[in-house]
Amino acid sequence: MTKTPIFELDHTTRIENDREILKNVSLVFHPGEFVALLGPSGAGKTTILRLFNGLDSPSAGEIRYRGENILELPITELRRSVGMVFQTPAILAGTVRENLFIFQKWRKDFNATDEELVEHLLRVGLSADDLNREAKSLSGGEKQRLALARTLMNNPNVLLLDEPTSNLDPQLAQRILRRIKKVQEELGLTVIMVSHDHQLAAKFAQRFIILIDGEVVEDGDISVIENPQQPVVRSFLNGAED
């Protein structure tokens, strides 16, 4: 590929309490990719997403977004362009509509018609009736989907998803991921999705990165999980199946 990479980790290290939670990682992500980030708990998956969204900075090495060091980009622009949905997203007080309209608090030009809001809700499997519901009364899975819709309101170029389906039943998880995939293809988004469910990830991602203990141990196509070469990867994937 000759296009400028959308994200590059260049020998990136993140140290937390004198411990390297990300060890000299170098990775290149291309525009339009759907990447699954897999690995055991504590491997550093969330850490990578936080770095991309600018919630943390690297302790060493560099991160580039579209070829530019992210430390030099205006942070709010970066975050708008690189949407993130947390593992346990915060739902704000008020209705679903107010959650989607939160951007009005800092973007004077922000506006959306009811049709657009409903379109966003439908896209993530919520319904038009939910618009005036008290957001805190939504179920865990509904909250996750609202958070996804809220992030998409920013029209990001990259979508960072931290276990987006952990609170959903398998059918719904597939439906939502199909929708995300559709949005991704329509808008040409780059999706980086952390998942514990590599079977599910296999259905949607084209590229699979396995992170263990702060290091990338595998990076490749579906064969990474279908035909693992390294013993550590095999034992992680088998363990995850139990």
Partner: protein, 266 residues
């Protein structure tokens, strides 16, 4: 009836020790075990207030504005130090923030009172300036430490909300807005309740003092009304100024929440 004011002599003060004696007797009888503390407290009250009396009568004899200003600065520095050590909060520059906010608040509130309300001549007339400054400093500081504490508790509670808002591109001020609002509300509610209930149940201490000193209750009331309004402004100003500096300490220049610092708070 004629205004009259009764002087308590030192022997009279000794007679008031019967109050302590009664308490002491009850403690003995019920084996409450606070006798020693009571005696120390009794002695400290006597010594501290007597000393304060000497200091005040010395101060009130001074005739230079720079003496009064120096004294004000000293009062602010000491009070801030005390407030700073009362609660160990992990806020960088906390002492500086307390002194600065208190200083600005004192200048604004005290200045308004001395110049526009009481029209004191000369403006540093200690009988007006020192007691009012003392009230502003004491109240402002109390309110600020409570608010800072509450603000940090709110931030810890809303850590995820703050980071979610930041992740969506919100500026820091918006991400912490709810925490600021909660902290300021908590600080002002007791003051507002005070405005509601003052005079219904008990007379404020200052008013009681003035009446005992033979001052016409209608004059004492006017003072008290001014003091009540002064308190709420003091709390508002001191809290708004200090919070504006405090919240920034919890974020990096790249608008990232400093989680480690926040988690240092117990």
């Amino acid at each position: 009836m004629q205004n009259h004011f009764y002087v308590i002599t030192w022997p009279d003060v000794l007679v008031s020790l019967v109050f302590i004696a009664v308490t002491f007797g009850v403690m003995r009888y019920w084996k409450i075990g606070l006798e020693k503390t009571l005696l120390i407290g009794t002695a400290r009250t006597f010594i501290q207030l007597t000393l304060m009396g000497f200091i005040l009568s010395f101060i009130f004899k001074q005739e230079h504005w720079y003496f009064m200003v120096g004294l004000l600065v000293l009062m602010i520095l000491i009070a801030s130090y005390e407030g700073y050590h009362r609660q160990k909060l992990p806020i960088p520059y906390y002492y500086l923030i307390l002194t600065g906010s208190l200083g600005v608040t004192v200048v604004i509130v005290l200045g308004t009172i001395l110049k526009f309300i009481m029209d004191v001549q000369p403006w540093f007339y200690p009988f007006a300036m020192i007691p009012i400054a003392g009230m502003i400093i004491g109240n402002g500081l109390n309110s600020m430490t409570l608010t800072a504490n509450r603000f940090i508790a709110e931030m810890k509670h809303r850590e995820n909300e703050i980071e979610t808002l930041l992740s969506l591109g919100a500026p820091v001020r918006i991400a912490v807005h709810n925490c600021l609002v909660e902290a300021i509300r908590a600080a002002l509610i007791p003051n507002i309740n005070g405005l509601m209930t003052v005079g219904l149940v008990q007379l404020p201490g200052m008013m009681t003092g003035q009446i005992l000193a033979g001052i016409d209750p209608l004059i004492a009331v006017r003072y008290q009304i001014m003091i009540m309004y002064m308190w709420i402004t003091t709390a508002t100003l001191a809290n708004v100024i200090s919070l504006a500096f405090i919240y920034r300490q919890f974020f990096t220049p790249a608008s990232q929440l400093r989680l480690k610092l926040l988690r240092q708070a117990e």
